[in-house]
């Protein structure tokens, strides 16, 4: 792969801010509902930052404020060290974004759509446009389908074109709202690979997703939102260390095992033959002995660092219903 797109550090207006995204007291009301509540995000330059939260927790609204599409009711945004929206013209050309899914002109082809978006800014860089479009299409695997009308694209192809648009220029920061939504497994893996590659070249990636396994594989940092508030923020290691270890038991007699764990003072959740419980102060040795003494057949018994999913549920609660 050539490097037309991947060297943000060579970009003439490179800024040396140590926070790629910084907000303070960021607040937005929709009517009476406080959708974003005094958000203080801090995204270190060079990180791959996962932005998590249940449906309706305010992620997309936050991203729209970051990019100057919504005016905050209170608070400030700085992107690459520059105030938004005051310095949008300087900062935004260095930022690629995918917001709430892709959007293109159905009557234009993929190539024409990219041409249209690229030509609509103040710094046209016309001489390199064709090459940049081809490279971006190549990166998302759309070279062959580039002349199809957008109308005829499948969900995953649309998503890929949206990503290509975010990659049209050398970027210092990518803000991607659910980039792998609707993609096939190969596509998802390619995107993961792409994100790692971009990050290795020094691009900061801010990524919102519900695919926790994805996030766990690529992210170095995390923030978790719940009902408009930031409930956690930090490096992946810090956050997972802060959540206590979990006990997982595989057994053929789930009911009996649950009863014994409950009697030991543990709160359990069960999925098929696997029981999970936050171990807390209880000694796992004692639990294991009681299970065996109680005649429960144990197939697997482990105490491990919680998965990101465990952490996420611990931070945002079990409830399935959206908060508001």
């Amino acid at each position: 792969m050539t490097t037309l797109l991947t060297r943000p550090s060579e970009s003439p207006t490179a800024t040396g801010a140590d926070q790629a995204i910084e907000t303070s007291g960021l607040t937005k009301f929709f009517g009476k509902q406080k959708v974003v509540d005094e958000l203080a995000l801090s995204v270190p330059t060079g990180s791959v930052f996962g932005f998590l939260g249940p449906n309706g927790s305010g992620k997309t609204t936050t991203i729209r404020m970051l990019l100057g599409l919504l005016t905050p009711d209170a608070g400030d945004v700085r992107l690459l060290g520059q105030p938004i929206p005051a310095a949008s013209d300087e900062a935004l050309p260095l930022i690629g974004a995918l917001i709430d899914g892709p959007a293109c002109y159905p009557w234009l082809s993929g190539r024409q759509n990219l041409w249209r978006f690229d030509a609509s800014g103040p710094d046209s860089q016309r001489s390199t446009r064709k090459a940049r479009i081809e490279e971006a299409l190549g990166r998302v695997g759309l070279t062959a389908a580039g002349d199809k009308r957008f109308k005829a694209y499948s969900l995953g192809m649309r998503q890929r074109l949206g990503l290509a648009n975010a990659l049209l220029r050398p970027r210092q920061l990518l803000i991607l709202d659910e980039p792998t939504n609707g993609m096939d497994p190969q596509g998802t893996r390619e995107i993961r690979h792409l994100i790692r590659e971009l990050a290795a070249d020094g691009t900061t990636v801010f990524l919102s997703s519900h695919l926790l396994a994805e996030i766990e594989q690529v992210c170095t940092h995390l923030a978790v939102m719940s009902a408009g508030r930031l409930v956690a923020q930090g490096s992946l290691n810090e956050l997972q260390a802060a959540t206590s270890p979990v006990l997982r038991v595989d057994t053929d007699d789930v009911q009996a095992a649950e009863a014994i764990l409950f009697a030991s003072g543990l709160k359990t959740t069960t999925e098929a033959s696997q029981i999970t419980a936050v171990i807390g102060d209880v000694r796992p040795e004692d639990v294991c002995r009681r299970l065996v003494e109680g005649g429960v057949g144990v197939r697997r018994f482990v105490v491990e660092r919680p998965s990101l999913e465990d952490t996420f549920v611990a931070l945002t609660g079990e409830g399935f219903d959206v908060a508001q």
Binding site: R64, L67, G68, L69, L70, T71, S88, D89, L92, P93, I95, A97, I99, D100, G101, A103, C104, Y105, P106, W107, L108, Q112, W115, R116, F117, D118, A119, S120, G121, P122, S124, N165
Partner: protein, 264 residues
């Protein structure tokens, strides 16, 4: 940037269909008059009877027929779609984060709509059809004298241009409404509704006091160019009035769009 805007608009099938329809109107009139026999003596629009005498008038006949409804509808569709269309597709968020700049985007949309208004009235096809089907000769003015072909054609072109200018006030209203809603069909219908309302007010004697301020008040002033001695009063007032509408609604659109929350 606005060249890009123009090509996006004119590459759209809908725009092409509108322009094609508008081009067909003068051709259709010419053909009807040619083969069905023109209205002799004038219970139809006065330009229609002229078509048989002089093909250049096919252009004017076409514009006269389309001015009351076709042209305003075309303008309502294109102007109403400017911002709300981008919002409806969701492309607005990608244009603004490019960043296209809200002021710049609105300005290039406005310029594109102006080009469309002029293109819609250009109606070259009518001229072509007229020239092919009828003898081209001296042009008879409304006053009854005749003019040499070249100066007559110049006057007719100017009249067509003025009709294009007459549409700018409505276009400005359309662009403003387009900044209020994210639903393009709503903006188009709203613009058309305003136009119809203006027509109703214009027809009521009770509202005579505001008639001079209505958008359509001087719309027929282009016919003054076809008198032997051109009367400029109505033409100038028309241009002035359209200018006022463009300024007022352009400013309103700017105020609205530059402060708007983009939720689409």
């Amino acid at each position: 940037m606005w060249r890009n805007e123009l090509s996006t608009l004119f590459r759209r099938r809908r725009t092409q269909a509108i322009l094609l329809t508008l081009m067909l109107v003068p051709i259709a009139i010419t053909l009807v008059v040619r083969f069905a026999g023109g209205p002799e003596g004038g219970d139809g629009p006065s330009f229609l009877s002229q078509v048989t005498n002089n093909g250049v008038f096919a252009v004017l006949a076409g514009l006269t027929v389309t001015l009351p409804f076709f042209l305003p509808m075309a303008v309502a569709v294109v102007a109403g779609d400017t911002i709300s269309g981008e919002a409806g597709l969701g492309t607005l968020r990608y244009l603004l984060t490019r960043p296209a700049g809200r002021g710049r985007l609105l300005a290039s949309k406005g310029a594109t709509v102006v080009v469309f208004c002029l293109a819609a009235t250009a109606a070259v096809a009518g001229l072509v059809a007229g020239v092919i089907l009828f003898p081209v000769g001296r042009i008879t003015t409304l006053s009854g004298d005749s003019l040499p072909l070249v100066s007559g054609m110049l006057r007719i072109s100017l009249a067509a241009f003025l009709i294009g200018v007459s549409l700018l006030g409505l276009a400005a209203i359309g662009v403003f409404i387009s900044t209020i809603t994210d639903v393009p069909v709503g903006a188009m219908a709203g613009t058309l509704a305003v136009f119809i309302l203006i027509g109703v007010l214009d027809a009521l004697p009770q509202t005579a006091a505001i008639h001079p301020w209505l958008l359509t008040n001087h719309w027929l002033s282009y016919s003054d160019l076809l008198r032997t001695h051109i009367q400029w009063g109505g033409v100038v007032r028309n241009i002035g009035l359209q200018g006022v509408y463009v300024l007022v609604f352009g400013a309103a659109a700017w105020a609205r769009f530059t402060s708007k929350d983009i939720l689409a």
